[in-house]
Symmetry: C2
Subunit: 340 residues, 2 copies
DNA sequence: TTTAATTACGAAATCGTTTTCGTACTCTTC
DNA sequence: GAAGAGTACGAAAACGATTTCGTAATTAAA
């Protein structure tokens, strides 16, 4: 009795294995009476089909993978929440892989997933734009995947992103109208789509308002915690007059806050800052942080929906439509950190 | 050429399937020369074994599950980070399941995992103490699992927790010494081990310092966001004199901050607060929040290590030792929110 | 020289499902 | 009443790996 399986179940019922299997799948070949008997005994003996046998035979795993740069990050955990809400509904399982912002790690993970362990993948890329080989291998293998937030625009795959350019423009415009004279853009790297779009919006706004290029600073802080701390601190000493910072990610804004506390820079008096962020404490910070907030949960949901749609359509002739490219809106919250 | 498998690989090599399989597993039965040939062609043709066939035959999945109450929570995402660091090293895969604090959901998830999809489970329980049936089914099925943070102490399973009692005592003592007169404990529910231990420490400290019971308030705010907001707000109106709040979880402390902002209660002047928290912004809040910080990453690591140890020892005779029960230390950070 | 051990491989069973195909049997229909 | 359609089930092949067992060929031991 150690482990229940369909063979024992069939024997117990005096039926063949195939009949039992069909009954469990509610096949039209099996009459109602038999189905009931099978279902009843299956429940009583607590029979649960072996997922691997099933996956092996059906060539589908009821599992998706989520590949993200980091998890201890409000944005990504909210996205996972959204993904899980859909996956749970569709009885899919969710595998998590973390790249720690290392492109090679991402490649390795994706390559590993070529073995069919998952039916589809949701990716927020940490890859550089010049390395698409692993994505193309996915396409070749017919494994559906969807980018969210950070996409690789050279790859032919659905994307769920936010209006990064517009948001970047809007944030920068806000800084300009808050009487900033110098402007800094805090970035992790110049290889990430979402961040670059934010930067483009930033530059476009500065251009439109005819800000002198000498007053524009792009600070690539990188993904290393201690290093980025130093880079930001160095860039604040000496402090440019009326500096307005647009931080492309929450982490760098938090670091900036710490640095300002450390070297006694007053926000918003000496320095104004607005940041992309999903911090639940943004309004409680000292001073309250102005933010651009992405609809993280919805991003997860939309990306998952798109993925499942692609999984379902796999093999079928794809309608020659444009590539799904969902763009959601971010919300701007003006708070004290950018007050005049 | 669609999908590479061991059969095609064997044919290509003019070897039998079994020889190839053994070569790939570096069996002593196969001579070095053959192994090299096999490995070389496997790499060249990008052969990756089908994980389901492998799992089916070996009866092991190289996968663990993490079952948590919620994910958009600094503590849990840091724990997952720790878990992933170990899993990644051991080439295990990590499935995430979220219970949303619903005990029935947890049961359902655990029961589902009885089908052998995972080799082991890490659980932070959202269950009530009077419902252990699903854990016992895991034990019966021989599926190893480890509790972390929130354990069910009636169940015979390894645990990784923190020194919640001591930390609770210490935090409360700090509030007492900060000249508070009234004391409130903010709790999610009275069914969670970790939280109850914190409460016990709280009560013990108040008792030791002979605080009048009428000055002691236990506020069970529950897990529903809007409801808990109301409960906390109501309990602050009217505001007891010199109230010191010990919040057992970060979320409730944040809510308290929001409420205080809304109804104009000054922290720490009118109300002092200390909270369990892994907020990276605790020091940046207005005012900076005194915290008890759990070593979340280490909790994840330790729990994973314990689990993998149990997975490895499965089937072997268990040494009659005491149940592994790792207890890690939290760190107290005194900040402005409890300043005299 | 004979026997035993070792080396290096292959055939086939196995894991637990799903699915295809075959087949009795009953029921229509003209 | 013969042919066709429909019903309800079972046998067996498949999915792709791992593993047991068997066995030639070679080497070592007696």
């Amino acid at each position: 009795m150690e482990n229940m399986n369909i063979k024992k179940l069939a024997k117990e019922l005096n039926l063949s294995v195939s009949t039992v299997s069909k009954a469990l799948h509610d096949s039209y070949e099996i009459k109602a009476e038999t189905k009931e008997k099978v279902l009843a005994l299956a429940k009583q003996l607590n029979y649960q089909p072996n997922p691997f046998a099933s996956s092996l035979r059906r060539n589908s795993s009821k599992t998706i993978a989520v590949v993200i740069p980091e998890i201890a990050h409000n944005f990504f955990s909210l996205v996972i929440n959204g993904i899980e809400s859909i996956a749970e509904e569709l009885k899919y399982h969710v595998l998590i892989y973390i790249t720690h912002e290392i492109p090679e790690k991402e490649e390795q993970i994706i390559r590993h997933l070529l073995n069919g362990r998952v039916d589809g993948i949701l990716i927020s890329s940490s890859g550089t734009s010049n390395n698409n080989a692993h994505y193309h291998e996915l396409i070749q293998k017919g494994i559906p995947f969807v980018f969210f937030d950070r996409a690789n625009f050279d790859v032919d795959a659905p994307r769920v992103t936010t209006d990064d350019y517009q948001a970047g423009f809007q944030a920068t415009e806000h800084l300009i109208k808050s009487q900033c004279k110098h402007f800094a853009f805090l970035s992790l790297s110049n290889q990430m789509s979402a961040i670059n779009h934010r930067k483009d919006g930033f530059l476009a706004a500065l251009n439109q308002y005819q800000i002198k290029p000498s007053h524009v600073h792009i600070i690539e802080a990188g993904t290393d915690e201690t290093l980025s701390f130093q880079i930001i601190r160095d860039s604040l000493q000496p402090l440019p007059e009326s500096l307005g910072i647009f931080s492309s990610v929450e982490k760098l804004a938090i670091q900036t806050y710490h640095i300002c506390k450390e070297i006694n820079i007053r926000i918003p008096k000496q320095l104004k800052i607005i940041s992309f962020s999903n911090l639940p404490t943004a309004a409680l910070l000292n001073p309250a942080l102005s933010t651009l907030t992405q609809p993280a949960f919805s991003i997860g949901k939309e990306a998952a929906l798109l993925l499942f749609q692609n999984i379902k359509n796999k093999g079928k002739i794809q309608p020659i439509t444009t590539l799904p490219n969902v763009v959601l809106k971010s919300t701007i919250f003006i708070r004290e950190s950018t007050k005049i």
